[in-house]
Amino acid sequence: MISIPLLKQTIKSNWGLWLVATLTVSLLYIVIKFAVGSIAVSSETDPNILVPYIIALETSGLTIEGLFISIGINPEILTGLATMDGNVLVSIIFYPVVAVLLPLVYVVIVGNKLFASQIDNGSMAFILSTPIKRSKIAITQMVFLIASLIAMFLVTSVVDVTLTLIIDNSLAVDKILLLNLGLLLFSLAMGSLTYMFSSIFNYSKYSLSFGGGFALLFFISKILGLFGSDLFMNMGVGIEPMDFFNKITMISLYNTESILDNSTDYIMQFIALIVISSICYSVGAIWLTKKDIPV
């Protein structure tokens, strides 16, 4: 099903970037876990400081809700703020906005190198001139992309879980694993897009424009979409129309809120990511077997 000599070449050509991406994601986990760990320690507030405020409010007959209404803020956010866990908040934002970045860069660059850049510079001619079937080439490159992403997430998940156990135990290990699984599924789906574009286009410039373009669109939309998210709305800093951006970014299918608040929305979204991956990997592989390759 796969060609070992070709796989070796692909590994040699991409292992450096894999290592950089894997180490950087691990490093980000280390930084964030230390940061979150320190929040947990420093957020012990002294209840005595609150006492005079409470007495003042009681004697005046005013309420905090009244205060909020008088300055034009929906008092419902108080419940949101009261029940909010800083650690969870960090995780909800960190994984789909920060941790996602390196795998995105990885799949954009590697995806392009799998076919388009080799067709563009003509080096694919040597592989095509051997009896190896195009379908085998397509599958070998697909297997590399998928396996390298799985390997990346095995490493980073181990780092993440280890750090969680040692430094910051605010999240359960099963949640950490789900967060990492989601990141893997999203990265695989994003990889399937870059794989497909790499197969469709004969020029690096087009393959990179589409692969990188979608990655950038999804990434920026995710950040803009944060302002329209329930999370920000509940904190009182949301801008509802910006929820539009959550509808156009595939990162929304990596629903960290759902994973962490015990709802089950994320399961269907995981399945959606798998379906997208299956379609794009298939289209890419079939396309390669049918097209003219100008090398």
């Binding site: 000599p5 080096s123 001619a125 592989i127 051997t130 009896p131 190896i132 100008p294 090398v295």
Partner: protein, 297 residues
Amino acid sequence: MIKVQNLTKDFGFGRGVFDISFEVEKGEVYGFLGPNGAGKTTTMRMLMGFSQPDSGEATIDGKNCWNEYSEILEDVGYLPGEISLPDALNGLEFIEMMKNLKHADDKRINYLLDLFELDPNQNTKRMSIGDKRKLAIVSAFMADSKILILDEPTSGLDPLMQSKFIELIKSEKKRGKTILLSTHIFQEIDNSCDRLSIIKDGKIVTTIETKEFRNNENKVFQVEFLHDEDFELFLTSKLDIVHSNKKKRKIKIAINDKEINHFVSVVSKYKIKYFSESKYTLEDYFLSYYRAREDTQ
């Protein structure tokens, strides 16, 4: 062995190949001669199964080049016209990869490396064009394939290596290989091909046997006279004068080998500055063909 029938691939803007047909017999060296952009590479890409013809058919050993490429390529060695080696591999790793993909053996590879005096253990990015070409040649010949498709095989090689390459082609021919090679260099074809097709603007303009040129009995001689009188007088002789230049007192005469004695005896009666044979080569044929075609257009 290699059969191309009414093959058409239209890229638009007049580029591509149009309705070309030719056949390469088993054990034959067949040349594809034409200027850059004439369609040589396009044809070879279709033979290799890289691209699909718009119409017509290319077959090797009776198998369709587009549908059955993986079976065909078991027996084909290919040398691309533009050499771009895979990144991240050095020369040795490249050979190793190609060896495994083509099931070649070390003995043959070492023979080829020695022949072209190539040290593959170097970074391909720092290799000279000639060394890259040699590496590609080694890869094309390493599996000892029955059929060789070579796109401008000697470009980038120095003259010594070019002649070594031509020797290799000749010895492979003796070993029964079927070879299709394209070039815009005449010597390559002159020395090694049995037959050749001249291709221009995507069409085959003529196909010729090169031995007709090697054993050509008709020669052209050029004579330059010292005096105008001799020049004028010679013009009245009954020899077959193909060209004369009064200013330079030069005359070109076509002579069959059988009449050479007669020619010498005639020439000896005049005071001449020099006389020389100008060999009618394939190149003359090629260029005359092209110029004639251009004139008619």
